[in-house]
Symmetry: C2
Subunit: 416 residues, 2 copies
């Protein structure tokens, strides 16, 4: 089915809040085999909301509207729907009774704005009357319209739990088959990836997309066919060839992140990791510990931001810092080796650099970063020069640190 | 002026990539006094691109189009514009010459896809012919249309550096005055904030917006008036009253983040901070060190993820962990006190908890977090129970840690 997503809120059109829910909905709908015709974002204005809704009703099979369902004065979606579709708002008695019980317990004033939550356009079917802002469905001119809260966690939960199954039920069994895989790569430029994939001369039904998602490039391999058997075969073949063409620049697929790839390699090899970070200030450790189960391969480490802590917590000889400077091959090596020993880890990583905006010198400008990786046989240090903001330099330093760990682990465990 | 933003890319309508550029553009345009009528996102389809463009030309004063300008095969914006506006593509000779020089140096094939970048719809005025995908401007039916790359860094740079000044020049001096301030708050529910602000009975021309931006609530105070003097006075008065009503739940304004507030308080009080983190895995240290200049008040600390490191790096007595468990008031206190002493800091923070999804027990379920803050006079530990995913629990633990530091510093320095 073809759908449209309408997000409502002045906080979105003024750029105050980033619209993340539309993208999530698009992704989930796409994966379920639907096509999104358009996504629009409009302010809390009843006339604009009505206009967008009427236009969408004429051209797509279903509509998802997010935002503007709350109790504050700037939540105007229900009024707008009521006017545009000529459906007066009526109280949903179950929701109203629940709100009144809640207000009584709190001994609130009788005209509390919360009561507004119970008034829905006529014909609205609340998804869950036990929750006041749980959203509702309307069917207008044979078009199902789903109204969901704008708060990302509530919206994504309802979309997955209620809207997607309802759409599947609505759709009368179309047999369109969609296969998609995203290869996530780091280290090759988008143009180089494009060149390598063009050279494969893949069949026309395979659609390739290139998405630079800083600091990675994502490559999408997609097929949409009515004939399931042929599609599956073509798709598997295309994936194999793309994978070969991109080599070890690919670190994962679909929802994989670089820290997942590193985690898998550590887990499979049975190696324990420890980290000593200076300019990244804990970002590498944070990324590793975002992954559930990371306590099975990550011991911890130090954020040795001040030079004194590089000595006290990591065991870097103070003479090294005096002689070579805190941002140097020697100190990166001492950090990696030192944290490995202090934590009794198998692998130690040390990162030291100048994230800026202050602290650069002609010999070591802002963006200079040294990354050391220590293992029982020794330590290898690489030097990098990143450009851009402090945030960008910190992101690139942590990302390169993770990628160096990945390549190190791949090289050392591939023979097993 | 009233504008519209159109973002192009299958990666956006399939939800593969989050559209961040439209929100950025909306914010910057809003701050410059413009109003965004609508923002739409459409796929790489020439017919949809043309339709959206023609519709926008009829109803707004300016249009910003992002994405689809690159050299890969799925970049179709220029073809779509050419068809929809009946403007055949022509090579921009300056860009073409530059690309050919570049290709010669690289000894690439003569039909390299990069040459595509030089072919623009007729009438297009390239912003910067020395850069191949720098974007361009068209004026169609008296409507200026700005075409910008979809890559966020390139897009935001061009918007700020070229598009905003061009729009200002285009606009014939309207005198509409916009004042807006965002108060960023943590710790009060949106409904409670709404209740407090309603009670102020602010003048009708003051527009208040409530934006839950997890885990904060942002409150926008806005006025748009033709009479500059009156607007400024009304606005200042409303801000003062909102600020008083929200009290110390407000940690900052506009682009402030919680870590900026903590950083300012540390800097002003001359206190040095050190952190020992377990379940947050470095997230608190990372957030503090995101702020430029944080090396003037943050020493560093330990990511004591494994219990052994809580003893070795932070000095927690192993007996404490055996007796009370790693997630306990006692260990949070020992971590805060221990890291303060090891790092010779003025203030130590210790965070220990169960981020999940594994590791919970009936007595200490997933989401249990203890946060200790140690100073020369002693240590205070608070216990929290957060719900949701691992990511959510880690985010809330670090955010509460920062907020506790803020409240501690505010209480201890307010009397000075």
């Amino acid at each position: 089915m073809i759908g449209e997503i309408i997000a409502i809120g002045d906080e979105l059109t003024s750029g105050r809040t980033l619209n993340t829910t539309s993208g999530y909905a698009a992704r989930r709908l796409f994966d379920a085999g639907h096509t999104i015709h358009a996504m629009s974002t409009i302010g809390d204005s009843p006339s604009l909301i009505g206009e967008a809704l009427l236009q969408a009703i004429g051209r797509v099979d279903f509509i998802i509207v997010t935002g503007g369902l709350g109790a504050t004065d700037d939540d105007l979606t229900n009024e707008a729907v009521s006017q545009a579709l000529n459906r007066p708002t009526m109280p949903n008695l179950e929701i109203l009774a629940r709100i009144r019980r809640h207000l009584q317990r709190r001994q609130a004033a009788p005209d509390d704005p919360l009561e507004k939550l119970a008034w829905l356009p006529s014909g609205a079917e609340a998804f869950d009357p036990s929750s006041p802002i749980a959203g509702y469905q309307l069917v207008h001119d044979q078009t199902p319209i789903f109204f969901l809260p704008g708060v990302p966690e509530e919206m994504t939960d309802l979309l997955d739990r209620i809207v997607l199954p309802k759409l599947t039920a609505w759709q009368s069994g179309s047999g369109l088959q969609t296969c998609q895989r995203i290869y996530k790569s780091f280290g090759l430029a988008e143009s180089e990836i494009n060149r390598r994939i063009r050279a494969l001369q893949l069949p026309a039904s395979i659609k390739i997309g290139y998405y630079p998602v800083f600091p990675d490039v994502h490559v999408s391999v997609l097929i949409r066919e009515w004939d399931t058997g042929a599609a599956t075969k073509l798709f598997a073949d295309a994936c194999r060839r793309v994978e070969t063409a991109l080599g070890n620049a690919v670190y994962g697929r679909d929802s994989d992140e670089l820290e997942h790839a590193v985690g898998r390699l550590l887990k499979n090899s049975g190696h324990w990791l420890a980290a000593a970070e200076s300019c990244t200030g804990g970002l590498l450790a944070h990324r590793i510990t975002r992954v559930p189960g990371s306590s099975c391969y990550f011991l911890g480490g130090a954020v040795a931001y001040a030079n004194r802590l590089k000595a006290d917590l990591v065991g870097v000889a103070p003479g090294l810092i005096e002689r070579w400077g805190a941002v140097s091959t020697q100190v990166a090596e001492a950090m990696a080796v030192g944290i490995r020993e202090r934590c009794q880890a198998d692998i130690g990583i040390g990162i030291t650099g100048i994230a800026g905006p202050e602290g650069g010198t002609p010999a070591k400008p802002v963006g200079t970063v040294f990354i050391g990786i220590a293992e029982p046989d020794g330590c290898r240090v690489t030097q990098h020069l990143f450009s851009g903001s402090r945030h960008r330099i910190q992101t690139l330093a942590a990302h390169n640190g993770l990628n160096l760990l990945r390549l190190h682990l791949q090289a050392n465990t591939s023979g097993r």
